[in-house]
């Protein structure tokens, strides 16, 4: 046993797959210990907040201010406010004004603003320009004036008695706060989803639930497949014929159709994560059953099995001690693949709208489903769906690598 495990860990593929898998598993276990926020708490008012660090504005005004004189602060501020559209519009006006195109660099904020301030004249009429367009430039000019001012912003508080605004302080353009001194800062590494939930926390929880679904589905499928395969292969005769008939039926009927029909039949209320997992297990045992049967048939007449029979051991004893150890490596490999395909099946079902209907736990498929319903992919909200896809791909990839690695260890013909 020890030797086998050593051998397994010498396989590069297995080790890579195993490391990825353990890393995912550790994240799922450790993350909730550090970040204890409930994964499905709706924190954002609005959909799809971008990933980033969210600093409380109110608190940062109240925090101690420090003056830092940074040269490029003003330029950065303006560059941030000045959109691409505005830059193109400025270029258009300047060119219409007669400035050669190669002298205008709209990426260089400072220079382009300089040219604008020097050349723009609201009274000037440019031939062929509509009134609406001219008004647009007037508005643009006014907003730029605001940007270029060097004064700070006043903070005013409403007087409770008179209702007048009273200035309580001024935030200068060179004022900074230390983020560590702001009491309320929330890191949203993957932003929020369509409900305003923290995607990262939700994703970790969902990965855990999906892994559980995978395990339950995989174990169910493997147990059914193993039992049927052992019975069919070892007993043979009519039992074998019957089991093989059922197996062949389920081989050709596409599992997705069965999954859809069964999960639709269960109905929305009863469709919890665990039920879905069992249903997936019930529709994917076919391959294990076939392969186990094939191996058992070849083992059935080996000398050691016959010897065991002659010694009067019971069928259960023979199966447990003389047959199972020989197919154990195969069954473990099949289990790994079943877990991976269980996770994929849950995701596919959820996309169809037939996934677990729970409000307490997220699954990877449900996260994907919501992202699709809210069209995250069209709106460019990559953080709502891309991490989910990558997580699913990493889980199934790591499991398949482990499987391939094991295959090479236990199946000498495949060794390179």
């Amino acid at each position: 046993m020890k030797h086998t495990i050593q051998q397994v860990f010498h396989s590069g593929k297995f080790v890579v797959g195993f490391s990825i898998f353990v890393a995912i598993l550790l994240t799922v276990i450790v993350y909730p210990l550090i970040i204890t926020d409930p994964p499905l708490e709706i924190i954002g008012q609005g959909t799809f907040f971008e990933p980033g660090i969210y600093v409380n504005v109110y608190d940062s005004i109240g925090s101690p201010h420090y003056t830092l004189n940074l040269d490029d602060a003003a330029a950065k501020r303006i560059a941030n406010k000045l959109g691409d559209e505005d830059r193109l519009a400025i270029k258009e006006w300047l060119m219409a004004d007669g400035i050669p195109e190669d002298e205008i660099d709209i990426k260089n904020t400072e220079k382009v603003l300089d040219q604008w301030v020097n050349n723009y004249d609201p009274a000037q009429k440019i031939a062929g320009m509509t009134n609406a367009k001219r008004n647009y430039f007037v508005r643009l000019n006014n907003s730029l004036k605001g940007l270029l001012s060097t004064e700070g912003v006043s903070i005013a508080v409403k007087n409770a008695e008179t209702g007048d605004l009273e200035e309580t302080g001024v935030v200068a353009q060179s004022d900074y706060v230390n983020i560590n001194q702001v009491p309320n800062v929330r890191m949203l590494l993957l932003g929020t989803d369509n409900f305003g939930r923290d995607v990262l926390t939700e994703l970790v929880k969902a990965t855990g639930v999906s892994l559980q679904i995978g395990f339950v589905a995989g174990i169910t499928a493997t147990l059914i497949g193993l039992t049927l395969g052992l019975l069919s292969g070892y007993i043979g005769g009519l039992v074998d014929d019957f089991i093989m008939f059922i197996t062949n039926l389920f081989t050709v009927i596409p599992p997705i159709v069965l999954l859809i029909l069964i999960s639709f039949s269960i109905g929305q209320e009863q469709r919890g994560a665990f039920t879905i997992a069992v249903v997936i297990g019930f529709t994917s045992w076919v391959w294990t059953a076939r392969a186990v049967r094939a191996q058992v048939v070849s083992l059935r007449n080996r000398d050691h099995v016959n010897l065991s029979k002659l010694s009067g051991h019971s069928i259960v004893h023979i199966i447990l001690t003389d047959i199972l150890p020989y197919i154990a490596s195969y069954v473990v490999m099949a289990l790994i693949l079943q877990i991976a395909s269980g996770i994929l099946a849950e995701a596919a079902l959820s996309i169809l709208g037939l996934g677990p209907r729970t409000t307490e736990v997220p699954t990877l498929g449900l996260m994907m489903n919501w992202a699709m319903i809210y069209q995250a992919q069209i709106l460019g909200k990559w953080w709502a769906y891309f991490p989910v896809i990558i997580t699913i791909a990493l889980i199934t990839f790591s499991m398949n690598l482990m499987n391939t690695g094991l295959d090479q260890v236990f199946n000498p013909a495949l060794r390179e």
Partner: protein, 334 residues
Amino acid sequence: MKGYRKYFLNKLLWFLVTFVFAFILNFTLPRLMPGDPVAAIVSRLAQGLSDATGVQAIYQQYADLFGTNKPILEQFFIYMKNVARGDFGFSFSQYPRTVADALKSSIFWTICLQFPAIIVGWLIGNTLGALAAYLKGGFDKVLMPVSIFISNFPAFGMAVILMVIFGVTLEWFPTSGGYGFDLIPNFSWGFIWSVIVHYQLPFWSIVLISIGGQAIGMRSMSIYELNADYVRYARFMGIKDRKIVGYVFRNAMLPQVTGLALSIGTMVSGALVAEIIFSYPGLGFTLYNGVMGQDYPLISASALIITVMVLSANFIIEILYGIIDPRIKAAQAD
């Protein structure tokens, strides 16, 4: 020829048995659903209707129409008779449209999309796998991990990523539908071009997901064959490498043909999800609409048609396999 006929009849019988079984499953499973679908429709229709006898009359009318108030065995025979006539009843969610009408066009779209995509994916995958086995070295080292990764990539993930890259960011192809939403199907160039453009993303996402698994299978089959005794013997005999490679790949191909028959069910499920992501007007999308609308005649009929399509594909592949592989004929003649 006698051996082949036996093989053919055997496969045909098996096709019929699986069909009957699938038919029964299709009928029973959705009807186990708790809750009364007719009641659901009536409650939707009768909103704002305070007259209890009026609601009762509507309920009775729909129950008669869908036949849900009869015993289940009678429903089964009615269903069987109707299906034989191509009548799947009315769709719950799109009433008064019939299910047959809702499915008619989607079958066409699905066959045109999935059949070529799966074949192309299978061909490309096998070629790559064979090349990896034969060339070894760098090509193999790169192709294998990529294939394993792609074959484990969820089908919807591939579809979404292709959509984001080529549809949303680059805007080369439209992101949804089977043709421009402003067009009426006809035989003009504009329409055909629109269909071709809409076809690309779903097609390639299905091709890409089917490549990986096939390449892995073909590679290990080819490696196995390349180490077989007959290859060594042929080498000793001084037969040219190219000729040997020809034999090897012909032999390695055979299990891949059966592999296609066995994996077609899985491939179709991936393709159905791709259809949903791209809102392609095929069976997958219709099924999705059925699920969303709690429309069990539609779900049942789509599931039945998908099953029949997969079973037929299986049947055709196995018949072809019998023709390609002479050993089948020999085995059946014994």
